[in-house]
C-alpha cells in the first residue's frame, strides 16, 4: 500500500518538468565541481606523491563533492516536498486518500518513500560520477560508502521536515519557502553558535553530516538523523489526524 502511493508520487513528480530540471541542474553543478576538483588534484599530484601518507583521490575530490551535494540537496528538497500534501489539499484530492482504506501513517510513509526514491536516484547519479574515477584509480570504498549513507540519511531528514511543513498549509509555495527557511535555519545555527561546545551545534544537520563526510560513522550521528526523521514523520501524521478531527 505504501508502495502504491510512493509509486504514484514518483509518477506525479516525473510528469512535471520540475523534477527533471532539478535532476539536470544538480547534476550539472556537481559535474562542474567534480571536474574542477579533479583538475586541482591532478595538478597537485606530483607534490602529493612526495608526502609519506598522501591523501587519495576519494578524500581530495569525492568528499568535497558530496559535501557540495548535501548543500544542493538542501536547496532542492523544498521544491520537491512542497507539493506532497499542500498540493493534494489545493487540488481537493485529499478525499481520495482519506476515504481509501489507508491509515494516516500509511499516507505519510507512502509520500515520504516516494520522495526518498527520487532523492536516492539523485544521490545515485552523483555516485555514478564518483565511480567513473574507478576506471583510472583505486577508490576508498569505505569513505565513499560513508558519504553515500550520510547523504541518504541527511536527505531523509530534509524530506521529513519538508513533508511536515507541507502538511501545515494548502499553498505549495508557502510550504517551499517555509521548508527552505527551516533548513537554512538548521544550517546557519551551526555558524551562529560560536563556541565549539555550544549545544546548538548538536541540532545542525550539516554538522552531523560532517563526520560521515570524513568517513566516520558515529552512532550518535546515526541516531540523530533517524530520530530527526521519525520525529517529523510523526508530527506530520499527527497533523493530518488533527485535520480529520478539526475539519
Amino acid at each position: 500500500m505504501v508502495f502504491t502511493l510512493a509509486n504514484k508520487e514518483l509518477k506525479s513528480l516525473f510528469a512535471a518538468p520540475l523534477a527533471w530540471l532539478i535532476l539536470a541542474i544538480v547534476q550539472l553543478l556537481l559535474a562542474w565541481i567534480f571536474l574542477s576538483r579533479l583538475d586541482t588534484f591532478l595538478s597537485l599530484q606530483p607534490q602529493l606523491v612526495q608526502l609519506t601518507q598522501p591523501p587519495g583521490v576519494t578524500e581530495m575530490v569525492l568528499a568535497p563533492l558530496f559535501g557540495s551535494a548535501a548543500v544542493l540537496i538542501m536547496m532542492a528538497v523544498p521544491l520537491l516536498s512542497m507539493r506532497l500534501i499542500a498540493e493534494e489539499r489545493r487540488n481537493q484530492t485529499m478525499p481520495l486518500l482519506l476515504s481509501a482504506p489507508l491509515s494516516m501513517t500509511e499516507i505519510v510513509i507512502g509520500k515520504f518513500v516516494g520522495l526518498m526514491l527520487f532523492l536516492a536516484a539523485l544521490i545515485g547519479l552523483s555516485a555514478l560520477m564518483a565511480f567513473s574515477l574507478y576506471t583510472g584509480s583505486a577508490l576508498d570504498v569505505g569513505l565513499l560508502a560513508g558519504n553515500l549513507l550520510g547523504l541518504l540519511l541527511l536527505s531523509a531528514c530534509f524530506a521529513a521536515l519538508g513533508l511536515y511543513i507541507s502538511c501545515l498549509t494548502s499553498y505549495p509555495v508557502l510550504a517551499a519557502v517555509g521548508t527552505l527557511g527551516a533548513l537554512l535555519g538548521f544550517w546557519v545555527m551551526d555558524v551562529a553558535a560560536g563556541t565549539p561546545e555550544s549545544l546548538l551545534h548538536w541540532f545542525s544537520l550539516l554538522k552531523h553530516f560532517e563526520s560521515f563526510n570524513r568517513g566516520l560513522i558515529d552512532s550518535a550521528d546515526l541516531a540523530f538523523f533517524l530520530l530527526f526523521t521519525l520525529a517529523f514523520l510523526a508530527l506530520a501524521i499527527r497533523r493530518l489526524d488533527a485535520d480529520r478531527l478539526r475539519g
Partner: protein, 310 residues
C-alpha cells in the same frame, strides 16, 4: 434478525458535528438498506457535505456512531472504508495521470487484488462510458468526463455503499440524464446516497429522501410521501368577470384569497376537490373562466413547510 442486520448497509445514530460553537450537523439519524437509493436534499449549507464527509471517514464526528454493513467506522476505519466508494463535490482527480493510470491507482488504494484489477477497471470504464478516453490525461478531459472518471473511481472496488456529493452539478442536461441513469443502475447492486439541491433529481432517482435544514434532518421518508406533500391543496383561478369572493365558497373550500383583480387562490379540503364545481359554476354564471390550475408547492415551499413544523 441476522437477515435484517446484513441488509442494512449504513446506519448512523445521533450524528453531530460542531465547528467551534456552530453546529453543522445535529443529531442526524439515518439508515440505508441494500439496493436503496437515498437522497439528501437541502439548501446550500444545510450540512449535506459535512454528513457525507463523516460517513466516508474524511471527518470525525463530534458525537454519534456510524456503522457500515455492521462494521463501526470509528473502531475499524480500514475495514469499513473498504466498503465505501465516495465521490466528493470536487472530484479528487490527479490531472497529470491518464484515466487508466488513475483508475488503477484508485483500485490499488482500495486494495483490489492484482488479478481482479483489469476486470474491475474494464467494468467501471464500461459503466461510466470512459472506454474511448482511457489513454487521455485527466486534465485534458471536459467537466462531464471528469465527473464520470470521479464516478468510476467511486465504484472501481465494487463497494457496498456509494456516496455521491452533488454528482450532477456543472453538467449539461444530457450528461445529467446519463449520470442519473447510471445512479439508478447502481442502486440495484449497491446502496447509494446522493446529495442534491435539485428536487426533480431526487424524484427521478431516489427511493427515499432525507431533507436537511440547518444541520437537522427535518424530513425522512419515501419519495411518494414527499410527492404528496408537494402536490399542495390550493388552486389558482382566473376569472375575467369575477363574482363576489363569497360566491366562490363552494363545499370543500377552506379559504379564498384575491391576489389580483381577476385572480384568486383557493385553499381546499384534500377530501373534496372543488375544481369541477367551480368550472360548472363559472360556465353557468358567466364568470369567464380563463385559468384554473392546481398549485404545486415548489422546493422552497416544502422547506418552509417542513422547517416551520419543527
Amino acid at each position: 434478525m441476522a437477515q435484517e442486520i446484513s441488509s442494512t448497509t449504513v446506519l448512523a445514530h445521533q450524528l453531530s458535528r460542531w465547528f467551534g460553537a456552530r453546529s453543522a450537523v445535529l443529531e442526524l439519524n439515518l439508515e440505508l438498506k441494500k439496493g436503496e437509493v437515498l437522497g439528501f436534499l437541502g439548501p446550500n449549507g444545510a450540512g449535506k457535505t459535512t454528513t457525507m464527509r463523516m460517513l466516508t471517514g474524511n471527518l470525525a464526528p463530534s458525537a454519534g456512531s456510524i456503522s457500515i454493513c455492521g462494521i463501526d467506522l470509528l473502531d475499524q476505519p480500514k475495514a469499513a472504508k473498504q466498503l465505501i466508494g465516495y465521490l466528493p463535490e470536487d472530484p479528487p482527480l490527479y490531472h497529470e495521470l491518464n484515466v487508466d493510470e488513475y483508475l488503477a491507482l484508485a483500485a490499488r488504494l482500495h486494495r483490489v487484488a492484482k488479478p481482479e484489477l483489469k476486470n474491475n477497471m474494464e467494468q467501471a470504464k464500461q459503466r461510466c462510458g470512459l472506454n474511448e478516453v482511457s489513454k487521455q490525461l485527466i486534465g485534458s478531459l471536459s467537466r462531464g468526463y471528469q465527473q464520470r472518471v470521479g464516478l468510476a473511481q467511486a465504484i472501481i472496488h465494487n463497494p457496498e455503499v456509494v456516496i455521491l456529493d452533488e454528482p450532477t452539478v456543472g453538467l449539461d442536461p444530457i450528461q445529467m440524464r446519463e449520470i442519473r441513469t447510471l445512479i439508478r443502475e447502481l442502486g440495484g447492486a449497491h446502496s447509494v446516497i446522493l446529495s442534491t439541491h435539485i428536487l426533480p433529481e431526487v424524484e427521478s432517482v431516489c427511493d427515499r429522501v432525507i431533507i436537511m435544514h440547518q444541520g437537522k434532518g427535518v424530513y425522512s421518508g419515501s419519495i411518494n410521501a414527499l410527492r404528496e406533500m408537494r402536490e399542495g391543496h390550493s388552486l389558482q383561478l382566473g376569472l375575467r368577470n369575477p363574482p363576489q369572493t363569497a360566491q366562490l365558497q363552494m363545499p370543500g373550500v377552506i379559504a379564498v384569497e384575491k391576489i389580483a383583480d381577476t385572480l384568486f387562490t383557493i385553499q381546499f379540503n384534500p377530501d373534496a376537490d372543488p375544481s369541477e364545481a367551480l368550472v360548472k359554476a363559472a360556465a353557468a354564471q358567466g364568470w369567464e373562466l380563463y385559468q384554473i390550475n392546481r398549485q404545486r408547492a415548489n422546493l422552497e415551499d416544502v422547506f418552509v413547510q417542513l422547517t416551520q413544523q419543527e
